[in-house]
């Protein structure tokens, strides 16, 4: 019974002995180990506890008035050290450290969030503003916000009819929205703007055979074309584009609200 009381007293003491004084910070000297404190406490505790109400015992023992400038407390059984200006400096230093830690925490949270954003944007799904006349019946001239997903082109699951985002082969900083009309080996018939009103049929690169007239053809290319055949700069001009230029597949339209819904073949 007494044992438990002692431990309680010890813990109360150890906590309340560190308190800010007028001239700085008083605290227990570091080398006073728990065992020492405990042993020295034991006698006085038992003395105090005998026949006394325990709740009244603890109060006087840690009264601030017992901590003088020279810091002697409990019959000089505990050595106390007084910090003057050095203590203040140390406290300020601690403050700075804690502020820096806090800031670092915040920054790392923000950085992690940005990383998550980047990965979502690059590997999962991202919003895009598509404008211009080239996809006119499907996408508006003034600008539609569409969602594009980056999963299916990585898995090779895009096919004819899909609307894709492609890095323009003529300007790598521009990303254009077009519809895939043919993959490797497909036969594509299109209205050729270069040679008047002639419909021309090309086979998009049968393996190893060169069929398109303007450029040489290889495997791994796709034929992209805008829905508006009169105002679209697409594969009819620059030929089929490498599959590696595809940046995503548009699958959902968010804006304008009246045409909210799926996009697709």
């Amino acid at each position: 019974m007494v044992m438990w009381e002692q431990i309680l007293l010890l813990s109360v003491l150890k906590r309340s002995l560190v308190y800010p004084g007028e001239n700085g910070c008083h605290c227990l000297e570091d080398e006073t180990s728990d065992a020492e404190v405990f042993n020295s406490m034991a006698m006085s505790c038992t003395y105090f506890l005998e026949g006394t109400n325990t709740s009244t015992v603890y109060e006087p023992s840690v009264e601030p008035s017992t901590l003088s400038r020279n810091a002697v407390v409990f019959n000089s059984k505990f050595k106390l050290r007084k910090f003057g200006a050095g203590g203040r400096r140390r406290r300020r230093c601690d403050e700075w450290i804690s502020v820096a830690k806090e800031a670092l925490n915040q920054i790392s949270t923000v950085a992690r969030f940005l990383c998550l954003l980047h990965v979502t944007d690059k590997y999962l799904c991202s919003p895009t503003l598509a404008y211009g006349p080239s996809m006119l019946p499907t996408l508006n001239l003034t600008g539609d916000v569409i969602l594009s997903e980056q999963v299916s082109y990585r898995l090779g699951r895009v096919g004819p009819g899909d609307i894709v985002l492609v890095r323009s082969p003529t300007d790598p900083l521009k990303i254009v929205t077009k519809r895939i009309l043919g993959l490797e080996g497909d036969r594509v018939t299109f209205y050729d703007p270069l040679s008047g009103d002639i419909c021309r049929t090309v086979v998009v690169f049968k393996k190893g055979r060169v069929i398109f007239l303007v450029t040489r053809f290889q495997r791994g290319h796709v034929w992209i074309q805008g829905d508006n055949i009169y105002a679209s700069n697409d594969s009819r001009y620059f030929g089929p584009v490498p599959y590696g230029l595809i940046q995503g597949k548009a699958f959902f339209r968010v804006w304008p609200p009246d045409s909210f819904g799926r996009l697709g073949p």
Partner: protein, 170 residues
């Protein structure tokens, strides 16, 4: 229960590091191995030994150039193969848009179209490059090789110089 929470915290750490690593390698820099002998004097000089992955060079690829797509002739770049989007190739840029390139096999002169570049390997005898598939769109470029980081004895920057006989007169 303890193992459960340990697994949870481990998974969280793993996820975070994966996220950060992926972002850094996408946006800033990454390290890639170079296989094959197509860039032989520059990378993998002992190509005839076929030592496997142990003798491969590892190179540092920076991605800051992708913000503007500004390159200069002689840069060594990593790009997705125009024929197979899953492969990446390392070649040297010989010509940029507007340059005239003489192909060595046939004696034609080709003009590099807008937004394209002409890439060739340093080892012409075993290189699959623009001489076989023509100029490639700059949009396929994934980064510029700046340093060799492995093996340690060949650690150093990659020089951006074109061999004399490939200098194009524009």
């Amino acid at each position: 229960m303890a193992s459960h929470s340990f697994l949870w915290s481990f998974g969280k750490k793993f996820f975070t590091f994966g996220l950060i690593g992926l972002t850094v390698s996408d946006r800033y820099a990454s390290i890639l191995p170079v296989r094959g002998a197509s860039m032989s004097p520059t990378f993998n000089p002992r190509s005839d030994s076929f030592g496997g992955s142990l003798s491969d060079d590892y190179v540092l690829v920076e991605k800051f150039c992708l913000e503007k797509y500004k390159f200069s002739p002689g840069d060594v770049v990593v790009f997705r193969s125009p024929q197979n989007h899953k492969e990446k190739h390392v070649k040297r840029i010989i010509g940029l848009p507007g340059d005239w390139i003489g192909t060595r096999s046939s004696y034609d002169i080709v003009k590099v179209p807008d937004g394209h570049c002409w890439v060739e390997g340093d080892n012409p005898s075993s290189s699959m490059d623009s001489r076989s598939f023509g100029p490639i769109p700059l949009g396929l470029v994934q980064g510029r090789v700046t340093h060799i980081v492995w093996p340690p004895e060949r650690l150093g920057a990659v020089k951006g110089s074109i061999r004399e006989d490939r200098l194009s007169s524009s």
